[in-house]
């Protein structure tokens, strides 16, 4: 008999070594997340996937599933707090959806829709962040970076290049690239690299494709991120 946990009362099976997030996704249960991507080592930084496990909060992407765990996920309180975290991500950077090429394909925007975020609520920080267009095929717009480190992980673990990293601390945290000039164009990053494909926002984008698919016909214009990330959406 397979081992199980319960999520919001639903019995969900898991294998040893799986996290709560792994088990949930495998069963089509959506837990909001941004820094998690099943292809890479769990990170646990965005905290959107925080669930209540046996009475205590934990990030579901890093928390190992163990027999009988009682998990609360889709509750009003957790969704309120998740919405606040998304609002924090919006105000700490410069996220201007109406003029952003990623609009409609952006996970940050999509998860904000899912959590019914109607306003940024907090005051915008309007930080000054650098845009790097030095690479012929890729644009790095730090205004949209949420420090999920998916590009860092993908470049290191999938591409074997270590093109990206973080420096600074706290609010001064900055995404940096692996070149003495500090320019993306002087790194070994290639357009085909995994690191370019994993960005959940519009911080890293391939050039020349911005409006190939017009706004209004993009993924999250028609599907909830919940359905997209759990492979559902056909009910």
């Amino acid at each position: 008999m397979s081992k199980t946990i319960t999520i919001d009362g639903l019995t969900v099976p898991f294998r040893d070594g799986q996290t709560i997030m792994d088990a949930a996704l495998a069963s089509g249960v959506y837990i909001p997340h941004l820094c998690h991507n099943p292809e890479f080592k769990p990170h646990g930084s965005c905290k959107l996937c925080t669930v209540n496990v046996n009475g205590r909060n934990a990030a579901s992407c890093t928390m190992p599933a163990t027999e009988g765990l009682q998990v609360l996920n889709d509750t009003a309180e957790l969704n309120d707090e998740r919405r606040a975290l998304v609002q924090m991500l919006f105000v700490e950077g410069n996220h201007l959806c109406p003029s952003c090429e990623k609009s409609g394909n952006c996970q940050l925007q999509a998860v904000a829709y899912y959590l019914e975020m109607m306003s940024p609520h907090y005051n915008h920080f309007y930080p000054t962040r650098e845009v790097d267009a030095s690479h012929p095929g890729i644009l790095l717009d730090r205004n949209r970076c949420i420090y999920c480190e998916l590009c860092v992980r993908a470049s290191r673990d999938a591409d074997g290049k270590n093109v990206f990293g973080l420096t600074g601390r706290g609010m001064a945290t900055t995404l940096i690239v692996n070149s003495a000039s500090g320019r993306l164009g002087d790194t070994t990053l290639a357009v085909t690299d995994k690191a370019v494909q994993v960005c959940p926002t519009g911080a890293l984008m391939k050039k020349g494709l911005a409006y190939t698919v017009p706004i209004g016909r993009r993924i999250f214009d028609h599907h909830s991120i919940k359905d997209v990330q759990t492979g559902g959406g056909h009910e």
């Binding site: 769990p42 646990g44 930084s45 965005c46 905290k47 959107l48 925080t50 909060n57 990030a59 890093t62 190992p64 707090e81 606040a84 975290l85 924090m88 991500l89 105000v91 700490e92 907090y122 005051n123 920080f125 949420i146 420090y147 270590n162 093109v163 990206f164 990293g165 973080l166 420096t167 600074g168 601390r169 706290g170 609010m171 001064a172 945290t173 900055t174 940096i176 690239v177 692996n178 070149s179 003495a180």
Partner: protein, 610 residues
């Protein structure tokens, strides 16, 4: 600016790089020395270090940017950092810092035009009993006043090397006012190790268990359990079991001397005057868990202790108390290496400390796994506070029952308290657990009517005068050791602001709630301070506090709202007296926003104002 191909830079760095070898865990130690040599960590140095250690350049730049004492831009031949704790502020730090800046013709936080000097604030340097305090090129300056700053300005202007400054500027007193079993009794180096060897490792663990010693860093986890878990742990790496020696993983003992909690300075005194007791506790721990290597992670602010601590280690090696075949025991080898921090409070968190020991950014790890099973280099690791190891040495020497007879049932032994603020005799007080706050206030000569006490630093608890009968104990007021006293009429809102600024500055930035939430908290307090706060801001503080507490990655974030909300709850008038009467006020100044338009149009009439 140095470039990597500059021969001058290469000449400066070559001896540093050669001394540390090609071990990437030395990265932070290397960068500290680069900072000393170049007064910054220039881009060229990052290239050289990355090439030398054969690690990606981003990793080196990432570490260089994480620690406050490393700077990307030149910080001057003389870098003065004033301790910014609330106790330093109450002693006049802000005015003194401005005074020195005026004397030196520099702006706070900026390098002087001639590149000679910079003056800035830093988090608490652990000299609250002899503040206002500062660091010059990392060396502590104490008891600062106008006279001393006049002298310091003169020394800087005449370009006198810091090594040649008058020693009295750097005097650090222990200020022990009450000693008990740790500070008040003599200790014969080797006594605890001898007792451990005579009794046996397993039996010593049983004594530790009987003592009910709990971690002195504040969390209060039972030390014997931690040691037992580490001893029993089989380290696993993805893909297989690590077997270093005889089918067993290597194990490590780490002493957490990153005493960063503002208002705490007891480890400074233990390391200054009782280092043998601490090292002996580590050695006992090594015997119990089966470790052969230990680290002392010393906060950068305490680098002035490094040389004398190295001397103690050397003496202990010569006495056969450290190194190979300890006290002639052929199966017992253990040695200790000292690592220096570089200005990052978060490294007091045990898993962030381990990351830092490995030469990385001090970012708390995901748990589980815990360090006792997967710590330093993925091996089982015990991380304990300085005071915990000192207690362990006493227990090994005198037995668990003896220790358990001191203090209360749930909180055995004694606790070192670092007392500062509005008291006549700031310093170190060692009491058996269970002592009341009132007793401490009486003993340290609390000035006037005491109003509030911040127990265990910003991340601890604020108590009001109504609670002075409460006890220092894990079951009532747990503490890592700080006790900051505020007399009547102190504006506690300034304490809340100071602590909120501290957390915003020290957040590692890894998780969303802490990175952004500590900033939001700081901004709301600034808004209230500037006279624009309303009742809705207080509600916002409570909501933010809840998110910080429940969603953060580690203890820094989850306790970052404690003092802000404690003071709001217990001293609401401190906030309310600063609020506007309105229920809501926007964060920005509407009338101020029209200033540019007024300037352009040359108007200043009534209709040009809101």
């Amino acid at each position: 600016m140095y470039r990597s191909d500059s021969p001058g830079l290469s000449r400066l760095l070559t001896p540093i790089l050669q001394r540390h070898g090609r071990d990437a865990t030395r990265l932070l130690q290397i960068l500290r020395e680069v900072q000393d040599a170049c007064h910054s960590v220039p881009a060229g140095a990052i290239d050289l270090v990355a090439a030398h250690l054969d690690v990606p350049r981003v990793n080196v730049e990432g570490v260089a940017g994480f620690y406050s004492f490393l700077s990307a831009h030149p910080a001057g031949e003389y870098r003065l950092l004033f301790s910014g704790n609330i106790t330093d502020q109450m002693l006049g730090k802000d005015e003194l810092m401005q005074y020195l800046c005026n004397k030196l013709w520099v702006e706070p936080g900026r390098l002087s035009e001639d590149g000679l000097v910079s003056v800035d604030s830093t988090s608490c340097t652990g000299m609250c009993d002899q503040g206002p305090a500062a660091l010059v090129n990392g060396w502590p300056l104490t008891n600062l006043d106008h006279n001393r700053l006049d002298l310091i300005a003169e020394l800087i202007r005449s370009r006198k090397p810091v090594a040649d400054w008058p020693p009295m500027l750097f005097e650090v007193a222990d200020n022990v006012h009450r000693g008990d079993v740790l500070l008040g009794q003599p200790f014969e180096p080797g006594a605890a190790i001898r007792a451990t060897l005579a009794r046996g490792a397993k039996e010593t663990l049983a004594e530790m268990d009987k003592s009910n010693l709990r971690g002195r860093g504040g969390a209060g986890f039972k030390t014997a359990s931690k040691w037992a878990f580490c001893h029993a742990a089989i380290a696993e790496e993805e893909g297989g079991v690590i077997c270093d020696v005889g089918g067993q993983p290597e194990r490590f003992i780490v002493c957490n001397a990153d005493e960063g909690e503002p208002g705490t300075f007891k480890d400074r005194v233990l390391l200054n005057s009782h280092a043998d007791l601490v090292f002996e506790g580590m050695t006992v721990g090594a015997r119990v868990v089966g470790a052969s290597k230990g680290f002392l992670y010393l906060r950068g602010e305490y680098r002035y202790l490094l040389q004398q601590l190295e001397a103690v280690l050397k003496r202990r090696r010569e006495a056969g108390l450290l190194g190979g075949n300890i006290l002639g025991q052929t199966d017992f080898s253990f040695d200790i290496e000292i690592h220096l921090g570089a200005g990052a409070y978060i490294c007091g968190e045990e898993s962030a400390l381990i990351e830092s020991l490995e030469g990385k950014r001090g970012r708390p790890r995901n748990r589980p796994p815990f360090p006792v099973t997967r710590g330093y280099k993925g091996r089982p690791t015990v991380v304990d506070n300085v005071e915990t190891f000192a207690c362990a040495a006493r227990i090994a020497e005198n037995g668990g029952a003896w220790f358990a007879s001191i203090g209360t049932a749930q909180s055995t032994g004694t606790k070192l308290l670092s007392v500062s603020g509005d008291v006549a005799r700031p310093g170190i007080y060692e009491y058996p657990f269970g002592v009341t706050v009132r007793q401490i206030l009486d003993d340290c000569g609390a000035q006037g009517r005491s109003y509030a006490v911040q127990v265990s630093g910003p991340s601890g608890t604020t108590i009001s005068w109504k609670e002075f009968e409460r006890k220092i104990a894990f079951e009532d007021l747990p503490t890592a050791g700080a006790l900051m006293v505020f007399r009547h009429r102190r504006d506690l809102f300034q304490a809340a602001r100071n602590f909120a600024d501290f957390f915003a500055h020290e957040s590692c930035g890894f998780c969303t709630p802490c990175r952004v939430g500590t900033q939001l908290q700081k901004k709301i307090l600034e808004k209230i301070q500037s006279g624009h706060g309303t009742a809705s801001d207080l509600e916002e503080l409570k909501r933010l506090g809840h998110i910080l507490k429940t969603m953060s990655h580690c203890g820094l974030g989850s306790s970052a709202a404690n003092p802000v909300l404690d003071i709001l709850e217990k001293f609401p008038d401190m906030y309310e007296s600063k609020l506007k009467a309105f229920a809501f006020e926007p964060a920005f100044d509407l009338d101020g926003a029209l200033e540019t338009a007024r300037k352009i149009t040359g108007r200043d009439d009534e209709w040009a104002h809101l």
